[in-house]
Symmetry: C2
Subunit: 129 residues, 2 copies
Amino acid sequence: MTDWLEQISWNGEGLVPVISQDSATGKVLMMAWMNRESLQITVETKRAVFFSRSRQRLWRKGEESGHVQEVEDIRIDCDTDVILLKVIQHGDIACHTGRESCFYKQLQDGNQWVDVDPVIKNPDEIYNK
Amino acid sequence: MTDWLEQISWNGEGLVPVISQDSATGKVLMMAWMNRESLQITVETKRAVFFSRSRQRLWRKGEESGHVQEVEDIRIDCDTDVILLKVIQHGDIACHTGRESCFYKQLQDGNQWVDVDPVIKNPDEIYNK
């Protein structure tokens, strides 16, 4: 039964945008993309697996960093073209810059993006272990 | 000064995905798209204005329903290709179905989408006033 997969409005590239939200804090951690295969694996393993558009391959979130996202809830929106995951973020770091969330640049004074959230761990320590 | 606009990684259609999150509850309300013009107006008016891909025109959120989104914070992610708004959701309804959030369909048993959130107000009452 893959009706639930076919009910999704995949875009022209066979992808759907996916928002990850920390289930404990409510913080929006990141947005990435999934194809059918990555969503199926996500559902089966309860670990977020995305599709990397730049590398054109499956991207098992945390495969290098260990910062996996354990999936607690999967929602789709009214238009069936955006997915929302509620996750437990292992290591409390979702961003490759070593920050909790990827959304750390704030628009200030209506004319500049300013980094406002702290780096929790140096990326060199995350990726060159 | 529109450097901040040019620093955004607009997609091939000149759009960027935008997540709206309720600043009070932390609930993710919806995801839609903006072009340069809609983002500029959003920043100037502090009201969310999207770009409707289906209608190919500006979409002033709440223009018919009155359910405007008052923007308190604007973030962009590490790749500068996704925007996150923290908003005050007027009327407590973001979805055209009359629900608080557009993400009301939950994946259950790994094989079916089930509507789990209540309709707060009948859409007929919202749009045919």
